[in-house]
Structures are given as C-alpha cells and as structure tokens.
Symmetry: C2
DNA sequence: TAGATTGTTAATCGATTAACAATC
DNA sequence: TAGATTGTTAATCGATTAACAATC
C-alpha cells in the first residue's frame, strides 16, 4: 500500500520545505527539482526522486506548483496537524528548545516543562510554568502526551526515560549524551553533539590532508 | 596509506568512547566488541569492524584492553589534542553549548564568543566575556581560529558565515535552520533540529502503524 | 518545434551483515 | 581442549546516481 519513504529522504524534506516557503514569499508559482537542488547544493536526481516519493505530480518543463509541493511535503512529514510534547530538564538547552519558533512549523509544540530544581520550578519560560517532576506522571496521562524531549544530565536520562515510558510516552527525543535502553516499540531519537562534531572534525581533516597538503596541518 | 574511516563509523566512535570510559571507571581491564554492542544495542559485527578500523589489535576470546581502545578511538577521532573554537550568537542555544562540558573531551574548547546585541556584549558566560561582532575578524586572525560554531538567527547565518570564511575559518558548525553556500574547501556541518524531528516522528508513525494497528492512531 | 523537465527503471556505490578461518 | 572472539573476505542490502522514454 503506502510505500515507506526512506529515513534519509525524510530528513531532507524539512530543507526542501524551508526553501519552498521562501519561494512562496517571493511569489514564485512553479519550481523544478533542479532549481531546489541548486539552492541546496544537492544532486538534482536525488531531489526529483525525493519529491516523487510524496506522490505529487509535476509537469515536464514547468516543474511543481510551489503551493502543492509545500502541502505534499507537509503531509508526508505528518506535519499537517499539531501534536503536544513535554520537555524535561529546563537548563540552557531546554530553554533554547522551548524558545525555538521553528517547532510550531514542525507539527508540534511544547505544552509542558518539568524540572527537579526548586529554583527553576514555578518560573515561567516562554509562557510555560515549569512543573516539578512529581507532577509528570499525572500530566502525561491526563493530556495523553506521547512525545517527550529530554534535556537532562546524562546520569538521570535512563531513569527519566523509564518514567516517561511508564506514563505512556512512546517517543523520546534525547539530548543527553547517553544511550538509553528501553522496551521495543518505544522510539528514541538521539541528538548527539559529540557525534556531529566527530563528523565535522573528520571532514575538516580530510579537506586539509586531501586538498591543501601542509596547510594548517596539525591544527585540527 | 591511511584508509579513510567511513563517516557513519566516525559518528559511532563517541558512543563507544563514552561506554569505555564508564568501563574504565568500573575497573574493567578488557572488553569485547560483543560486550559494547550489547550495551549500545548495535550489531556486534558492526562494532567489531568499526574498532578494527582504528588499527588496534585485540586478543581472541579476551577482547581489547580498555585503556588501549580508548586511546585508539581518541586518536582516530583526532581528539588527542585540543583545538580552539569560537561561537557566534550568544542566545539560549549558544549559552547551552558554551556550558557543555562534554566538548572538552571532544578535543576542542570555545575560547571566544561574539554577539551583536549590546545587552549581551560585555557579559560573561562560562568565564568568557562576550565580544562585539566587530572584533571577530581581528580575533580569528590573531588566534588563528579555524573552527566556528554559529548559533545565530537564520537570516544572519549566510552573512556571518561569509565573514568567518573571509577571516580564515575552514570549519563551521551551523545550528541555524538554513543551508549556507560557501566556497569549496570549507566544511559546514549542520545540526538541523527539524531534520532530527522529522526522523523521529516518521519512526513513531511506523511503530504505530506497523506494530500497534489502531493504537493511538492519528495522534502523531 | 525543440528542449527542459518529469517519472521510472536499471546500474552503481558504499555501508552493513554474514561467513569462516585463525587463535588465545 | 573447547569455544568465544578476533580479523578479514564475501554477500547482501539499501540509498544514490545514471539512463532514457514520455511530455508539456
């Protein structure tokens, strides 16, 4: 029935969407896959294939209607309706995420925030009053939350995650630098800064070794 | 000569390192690839292959010396010596990154921070006094910085990036939700929250459709 | 019309996984 | 010794890229 769209493709969709929204603002009516590819420095064939997986139909020589393509991508991402999420751990990173306007366009919003620090509990961040961890369970159940963002210290991540699952959460976005073990059927997405940096520094090394022998060698 | 280690492998190394450090603290002397794989819920063959790419030699039945493996992974990641980086955009996210202790283990440290907001300039964050953007060029050149972290609003990202490259930066870690166009030879690593979330929500949808038909359907 | 672009099938590429001999 | 684990080559898998007919 519905062919699964590969995760790598799904991950590129948000970039396409952002470009398209900018085209829309500029008043562009149609756009080709090649055009988007140029903008994002991607392979045109890849963009074409990615787009075709949404099921939209284009017109040879003309491309795709910008409005339609936005709708098509939004649907494929499941971002056409909004879901509620909570956030645990209101440190700097937690605060940054709570203030990130982009999320509203990503089909979800943070509706509750929790922390265990008495100094933070009760304060208001982006219009949300931080609640104590003790209230987590009741809140998740009552509001039927199934998505949680964890910005807690590494040491507490496993415990908090288990609590979340016990309450019925099925998706956890983990920013703590630890691998969490949870029962099957629970989805954990980890945003691991060290992993990203590892990739960046390796690429920098390659550039320096391959393209500029000797240049700034040993600096990174 | 030196076989390039694939980026996916490089990205897994930090997780291995973290596990190994915890083994070290527990006093473990040797560890097998299988053991690490179990801990991280990865395929043992994959871990074994990843490790072998560092060039370390293990002993059948015994595994690898924890200390040696840590050293080996650290070297492969280039994290054995420290590099200086600067950060542009001292908002909540910038602050969070400046306070992230993990980076010191990742072979780099943030030595300078810049912003254009007069209210922020001059304030101290994690022992670093925020400087005005005007001082960026002189600072980068004088301190021979080649890595910059950008936590600026999307609209400013391209301009700031160009300025950075002009000053001699060759690696940019971009947290702004835009694609930046730069000359070849400059490495840009983008940490795109929307992309991560797209992946997470797609996986949640799959779990709900595949494994629990009807269960909480339509919620995400 | 001519030619740029779509849609789709086939070829390639690279990472993951399997297989298995060597060995402590 | 027996068997768990390494090291390495081969098979598989899935994503990317190429090719090309269809078409506006």
């Amino acid at each position: 029935m519905d062919n699964k769209i590969p995760i790598p493709t799904i991950k590129r969709y948000p970039s396409y969407l952002r470009r398209l929204q900018s085209y829309q603002q500029k008043g562009m009516v149609n756009v080709s896959a090649t055009y988007i590819a140029n903008d994002l420095q991607l392979n045109p064939i890849q963009v074409r294939k990615d787009i075709s997986l949404t099921g939209i139909e284009g017109k040879p020589k003309i491309g795709f209607a910008v409005d339609d393509l936005i709708e098509s991508l939004t649907n494929s991402l499941g971002w056409n309706n909004t879901n509620d999420a909570i956030l645990i751990g209101v440190g700097n990173l937690g605060r940054a995420l709570m203030g990130y306007e982009g999320f509203s366009q990503n089909g979800f919003r943070i509706v509750g925030a929790f922390d265990k620090n008495p100094d933070i509990i009760g304060t208001e961040v982006n219009g949300i009053t931080v609640m104590p961890l003790e209230k987590l369970e009741a809140y998740v159940i009552e509001n039927r939350i199934n998505l949680a963002i964890m910005t807690v210290p590494a040491k507490q991540a496993q415990t908090v995650a288990e609590l979340l699952v016990k309450c019925g959460v099925i998706g956890i976005w983990n920013f703590a630098p630890v691998h969490i073990q949870l029962p099957e059927g629970i989805v954990v997405e980890r945003t691991d800064l060290s992993s990203h940096f590892a990739s960046l520094s390796e690429k920098m090394r390659r550039v320096m070794v391959d393209k500029k022998p000797g240049f700034r060698k040993g600096w990174l």
